[in-house]
Subunit: 336 residues, 3 copies
């Protein structure tokens, strides 16, 4: 997985429509806003008695999970079903058949089964991008998390959450707290926040868990949580990825909570109407106190709701982009 | 899981309609009969070329199994699909993601995904009741078996079986035979049989496997199977829950079969037109002889058919109760 | 599984329509051609924007896999969904509930749930045939591979591949190469090729992996690959079933590849327009060289596409045969 083109270009059609959804990086403000607007409309459809819309009727979506994540898989499964698609869940991580097979052979086989979309989860950074480069035209790739690199649907549901609860992303001061180093989502969030006009982005955490390039991405780095939270509008807590920490980057869970766990006392340093976000599942008492997670400023469960809507939006847009591109190719062929 | 309200009240709307289905205990004869009547109609729809009815179209049902049971899960999956619902199977027992998460966090997340119904299987008595107390209004809980406490859809399919094969539950003498102690279903059956007017209920088994409170529930206790089966109309064999028996409550499978296994000789003691029931899967030669299980008086496979219909009935009624309650709340809000 | 009737008769209605699909053996040229023609039409429907056809709407198909095969299960799942059926995946191999239960009890229970079709995968030869003999009238059995005996949908997708890429099966010289002994599919292929008029069938492989009865089936045996490939029109490579080879029937993978692996040099011995087939998943560098697998003469991925169409065809035909037979029985009952 070395030869990489520009990921932004790969995910857009010639006339700038979304055809894959790999990363928030490089996408325009107009396009990110289009995703948020469409997702908003899917929140409404899901509140109806009949939650389904026929946008992907007769299409086959494959949940292609090279790494297990029941929660993420379930949100994409529900999103696909509410778009009226047929969905095939493939848990490649535990499939014996596919073990001897190369990644490309697995993909080519699934393409040959007339699949229309792959939702890809992979432990390697850039896996979804690599697949999007290789896949047959007409098949849309949605990145459901690749290594430390990106988790763009999570980032976009966070954007939708801020927009719905703070009115806009423009002008907000946003703090991202915790294990930035191992987070799939921090990078995706920073790109989206910058494009959508956030006033200031702060990353807060121990020096061992904040990569130096955060500065280059335009974020301000704080090792002290009290200083970092001062007067922020939005607090995004990251999940402590215990399973990803190989060696002693952290002293202990107790010590971590003391320094970087979000308590009511620390929350009081932010603006009074600040919102608290977390991608879930939460480790109560490790990165967040229950009083905060369940408190009035928490929008953690709203994020889950918006997550289905955002996934429906990028799936619908990418499929539509693929269809438009295919039709343009056919039209070109006819007139040429 | 300590704070428990009255389970009957929890499962009914203010005007007495079903909104969850947790236990047969405390439900009126009229309501149990409504379930049986609706289930009867779903037997007809399943015998048509197109088995589906659109009652739960656009709804999301989550099979929330904290304890594995492929068989029970499959019956609910088929019932949901035949009601045109979308179904998400979540095998919490083997899901790594959910392991660190509390039960309530798992539930809140699923609710936030706009789920309409949880079918709950749990090893702890009262788990479904606890969940029904906590769940957001509008979401229906169906108990698919909780610890030793209840397995109400199994009990209702047994009632439907008796009604269809014996004409009525009223006036019948019913023997329940086997491991009453570890059975989820015996208690649910006794409540339903009493409410629906059975003439006499007998529980038959070794003293070590019959809890003393059976007497208080209104059942007559027999340790001798020959005496217990004399002139009964209905024999309900229980499955020997080998995996649930920790210590030496039983001498041996061979000994058990000699004393409490149902053979043709023992069956001859019942009324000539008595029916033989078993919840499945049967242990041939342990609690029931093959000649009886496959014989003319056996209605064991009919029970399986009625099981799908009963599950469709309680799912449709509970969903309808939730919708009615939500509409009543909205109407109240408008007029208030 | 001893008492076996004629498998051809079991799979046909009184007036010669397909009602199960167990084996290609004994089926007429007209019937095999009907399958291929219908499959051809399903290739067209899958190339449309909406891939689904309503032929099995409201029907319940059970994927009954006594042996794991994610790939085969997925193709049947997609085929069922594109016919608009509801599908229940049952992985009997890993289901604890069903472990103590007999095969027949499992089947009877699934029948009682108003299942319309079982797609059966089993390690024992004749398992699908046995089930078809026992199953309730009205329920169709599709063989998805049984032991070394048959894998008829794979054989038929191979026939469709030859017909589409070579124009016809009549007149072709076809070489089947590799582990004939452990192959589920070689036998099915030979029966279909003979019935459909292939000019010559050759089996090529080491003496230890070619059963003597191949001669009786009408195939010519070659131990030397160079001789066997001379002037053939079609090369069908078999997968090396490593997990099925218990003792030292082979020297080594390297040695095997040298003797029987398909390379560009060996391919050059066949006719210039010969096609290369493989059932997948391919072991690159073991039975086939990447340059051949990905080369211009390879139709391996086309086979995968045709596989869904062939499965749709036999499912639709068998269901239709069952319905016709049931209606004939009812009509007979009425007039009698």
């Amino acid at each position: 997985m070395t030869r990489h083109s520009d990921p932004t270009q790969v995910q857009l059609t010639a006339d700038g429509r979304l055809k894959h959804f790999l990363t928030t990086e490089g996408l325009s403000k107009a396009l990110l806003t289009e995703i948020l607007d469409l997702a908003d409309s899917f929140i409404s459809t899901q509140e109806r008695a009949v939650k389904k819309v026929p946008l992907l009727r007769g299409k086959t979506v494959v949940n292609l999970f090279f790494e297990n994540s029941t929660r993420t898989r379930s949100t994409f499964e529900l999103a696909a079903k509410r778009l009226s698609a047929d969905i095939l869940n493939l848990d490649i991580a535990s499939s014996a058949t596919s073990k001897g097979e190369t990644l490309m052979d697995t993909l080519w086989n699934l393409e040959a089964m007339y699949s229309d979309m792959f939702v890809v989860r992979h432990a390697d950074s850039g896996a979804a991008h690599f697949i999007a480069e290789q896949v047959t035209p007409g098949v849309a790739i949605i990145n459901a998390g690749d290594g430390r690199h990106a988790h763009p649907t999570q980032a976009m549901l966070d954007m939708l959450t801020i927009r719905r609860h703070k009115g806009a992303i423009e002008g907000q001061t946003v703090a991202i707290v915790g294990d930035i180093l191992h987070s799939r989502v921090a990078r995706s969030q920073i790109h989206a926040l910058k494009t959508l006009g956030a006033k200031e982005i702060r990353v807060i955490g121990p020096a061992t868990l904040i990569p130096k390039e955060m500065k280059d991405l335009g974020a301000n780095i704080y090792f002290d949580m009290e200083q970092g939270l001062a007067d922020v509008d939005v607090i995004i807590m990251l999940r402590l990825q215990k399973e990803r920490m190989s060696d002693a980057l952290l002293p202990s869970e107790g010590e971590y909570f003391k320094l970087y766990g979000l308590t009511e006392a620390k929350l009081a340093l932010a603006k009074p109407d600040a919102i608290v976000m977390h991608p879930g599942p939460i480790n109560r008492g490790v990165e967040i106190d229950s009083a905060v997670a369940d408190g009035a400023q928490s929008v953690i469960l709203n994020q889950v709701s918006y997550g289905i809507a955002v996934r429906m939006a990028v799936m619908a847009m990418a499929m539509s982009g693929q269809v438009a591109e295919q039709q343009a190719l056919i039209a070109k062929g006819i007139t040429a």
